[in-house]
């Protein structure tokens, strides 16, 4: 039996708008138009489904090396593919830390071997994420992994001088520092958003100012040294204001928000269920509304999942002892859609911008986040826009189960993922 020579997607809604057929051959989109003649390709009927450039996640924890009990590069890649992502950026807080060319090359290679999505390692800013001296960012940039995004995520580069140097240094190779904005002294022992509820629950507060003060400082540093700053997981209304201010002054800053910060609030902490423990913490409804508006308007550039797998034991315990973080890859589209669909100006184009095109640009993943046009590499996600899905973490590809959406109904379903002209996900299932 001969393999079909390509893929013909029939009757898909391009960006949710015009109904077209898309012909893919040798990994490239070769033709877009109505009623294309089949030429022996594999035919994919996609009537009523939305075609978008496949998603790119700038912030994922794949846990390998070191915590393969929580996730591996393979299972994380599978989760990403099922979520409609063709590329993910893997955070550096592994064990060992991705602070050398050796580790980032290993992560990159394991991603290629798994073969579901492109895994781009993020390099650590400081050795061992310790915040004391710069990691060899140049070596990581020049390695086979070609690292362009650097982050101590999990920790904040809190030393202002070190942050300044890092911002300056990555200019050498056009890199970007992705900052986990958390003033460490203001968040010692912090467990949840600081406000009336933290007082009532007797949990140590994580004040908005701990995020905002670092963002303000970093914006000014980025401006001063004329470098690029990316702010991870923005969680407060005040942070949105600061980023808006920075952009209005022409400062080169981008920002991300997670699906969970767009959808969930601190009220979920009332039952002390650690599945809702995350860093930065779930905030108030006012923050959620500001984040949604910021994302719709483009003040916040992208959605990034901060997919953070943890084994069951790390969440099945007292709140104080539980690990921070929640899964995100397999639920990102549904959560974002539920949070954003009523926002003014939100449509499939905006979604593609925030979840594919801009994150690929920030991370310099040049083959991803490309427009669906003839001649472009075929990284395409097909979405059923009508379907709803009851989330059952037991069905996840991820090894871990710490999803805050268990039993929730989320709108939209990713049905297919094509990466470089090959099906990775077909009919909602991973291809072998």
């Amino acid at each position: 039996m001969t393999e079909p020579s390509g893929i013909l997607i029939q009757q898909a809604l391009l960006y949710g708008e015009s109904q077209v057929d898309i012909r893919i051959s040798h990994g490239v989109i070769t033709e877009i138009g109505a009623d294309l003649e089949p030429r022996g390709e594999e035919i994919t009927p996609a009537h009523g489904r939305v075609a978008l450039p496949a998603f790119v996640d700038l912030h994922t924890h794949l846990r390998e090396p070191g915590r393969e009990d929580a996730e591996t590069i393979r299972t994380g890649s599978q989760a990403a593919a099922l979520g409609g992502f063709s590329a993910v950026f893997a955070m550096a807080n592994t064990a060992p830390v991705a602070d050398t060319a050796g580790v980032v090359e290993q992560v990159f290679r394991l991603g290629q071997e798994a073969g579901y999505v492109d895994v781009f390692p993020i390099g650590a800013v400081t050795v061992g994420l310790a915040g004391e001296r710069l990691a060899e960012m140049g070596a990581m940039a020049n390695s086979a992994a070609h690292v362009r995004v650097f982050s101590d995520d999990g920790n904040c580069v809190s030393d202002p001088l070190l942050m300044r140097r890092a911002l300056e240094y990555v200019k050498t190779f056009g890199g970007v520092i992705a900052q986990h904005a958390q003033e460490p002294r203001l968040t010692e022992g912090a467990q949840m958003n600081e406000g009336e509820l933290s007082g009532l629950l007797g949990l140590t507060g994580w004040p908005a100012v701990a995020e905002e003060s670092i963002i303000a400082r970093d914006i000014l540093l980025a401006s001063h040294v004329k470098s690029r700053l990316h702010v991870c997981h923005v969680s407060t209304a005040g942070s949105v204001e600061l980023i808006k201010w920075a952009k209005s002054h022409g400062i080169n800053v981008t920002a991300e928000v997670t699906p969970h910060h767009l959808l969930l609030t601190e009220d979920l902490v009332r039952n002390y269920d650690p599945v809702y423990k995350v860093n930065p913490p779930l905030r108030t409804n006012a923050d959620v509304m500001a984040l949604r508006k910021g994302l719709a308007e483009g003040t916040i550039d992208i959605v990034a999942t901060d997919h953070a797998p943890h084994p069951h034991e790390s969440k099945d315990c007292e709140w104080n002892y539980a690990a921070f973080g929640m899964l995100g890859l397999e639920t990102a589209l549904g959560a974002v859609t539920l949070a954003m669909r009523d926002q003014v100006g939100w449509n499939w184009h905006t979604l593609a911008q925030r979840m594919s095109i801009t994150p690929a640009n920030i991370g310099q993943a040049h083959e991803h986040g490309r427009p669906l046009e003839v001649g472009e590499i075929a990284n395409i996600v097909l979405i059923d826009p009508i379907a709803e899905r009851i989330i059952d973490p037991n069905k996840f590809a991820s090894i871990s189960r710490n999803s805050p959406y268990a039993s929730m109904s989320l709108p939209t379903v990713v049905t297919d993922l094509i990466r470089r002209g090959q099906f990775i996900v077909r009919g909602g299932e991973l291809c072998a």
């Binding site: 007082g199 009532l200 629950l201 949990l203 709140w319 104080n320």
Partner: protein, 311 residues
């Protein structure tokens, strides 16, 4: 009422009922019946993750006076760093057939989790969880206030209670503010702003930063313990300054109304939040609080597991 995790679990009627029951138990035991058969055959587990001789003994005595079998499970240290998890302990106690578990834990919410995650079917009584709540302490304080200031009344309308000190880290303060205000008392909370939780202005109490002006208004004053670890945490410049501003000494005590009582949940730092002179003085009801603790905990056990709640 199946569990007692937070004072918010109690309606005003239920709270009054606990105090009334305590009053009755007090009379019964005063008339010679040291031990009642009410909980014969029931197993009560004292599960203490945090040292607290006073609370543990108080519960133990309360359960024994009701003829329950009492087991003490002292699980020192965090569940993560060593030993079995809270969940496994709960499952173990469930398998052993515990009827009630009295839990004290470092982590806020531990009692809530025991009561509501389905690990164990027993009644859960919170004996202090982190910086969250300590509901039986609030009940025994309310009982003490009732005996001295409102002996023939059920509610506390017209009474003003001052709570002084580290509200931020105090589960005693949280439970007392909730319960006393629910019973109708006016609660004035006094302490340095560094030891007030963010959002405290939304609580059912008045916030003040100065102690001296408030003293003449108070029918009862409750001094909170200053924990050792706060003394070096930049919450206040020095223990001496704290003591000068917020410590209850003879001169301050003399500015209280004549009928006012001085309370402390213990253990006291004599010379820090309260001077020895005041602690041992004629207004002090601190040792009486300890005695009342046993009575009130008997009432809680009786109503929760003795079936008294369904009479």
């Amino acid at each position: 009422m199946k569990h007692l995790v937070s004072v918010a679990d109690l309606t005003k009627t239920e709270a009054i009922r606990i105090l009334d029951t305590a009053m009755q138990l007090d009379q019964v035991t005063e008339h010679g019946a040291k031990k009642l058969p009410t909980l014969r055959g029931r197993t009560v587990v004292n599960l203490f993750y945090e040292d607290s001789t006073r609370t543990r003994l108080s519960f133990e005595l309360a359960a024994k006076r009701l003829s329950a079998d009492v087991i003490t499970f002292s699980a020192k240290g965090s569940s993560v760093s060593k030993g079995e998890s809270l969940k496994d302990t709960a499952l173990t106690l469930q398998a052993m057939g515990a009827d009630a578990v009295i839990i004290r834990h470092f982590a806020s919410g531990a009692a809530h989790q025991m009561a509501h995650t389905g690990w164990i079917k027993a009644h859960i009584i919170n004996a202090g969880d982190g910086t969250h709540e300590h509901p039986t302490q609030a009940l025994l304080d309310a009982y003490t206030i009732r005996r001295h200031l409102a002996p023939h009344r059920q509610d506390f309308e017209g009474l003003t209670v001052g709570i002084v000190g580290d509200v931020l880290h105090s589960r005693v303060a949280r439970s007392n503010i909730g319960l006393l205000s629910a019973l109708g008392a006016k609660v004035i909370v006094v302490g340095p702003p560094t030891l007030m939780p963010v959002g405290v202005e939304e609580w059912p109490c008045e916030i003040r930063y100065q102690l001296d002006d408030s003293l003449p208004e108070l029918d009862a004053i409750m001094m909170l313990r200053v924990q050792q670890e706060r003394m070096n945490g930049s919450f206040f410049p020095s223990v001496e300054e704290y003591s000068r501003e917020y410590g209850l000494n003879r001169i301050r005590a003399s500015r209280l109304p004549d009928h006012a009582v001085v309370m402390h949940p213990g253990p006291m730092n004599r010379g820090v939040e309260i001077t020895a002179e005041v602690a041992d003085g004629h207004r002090s009801v601190i040792t009486e609080q300890v005695a009342n603790g046993v009575i009130v905990r008997m009432a809680v056990l009786y109503l929760l597991i003795g079936g008294g709640a369904h009479d």
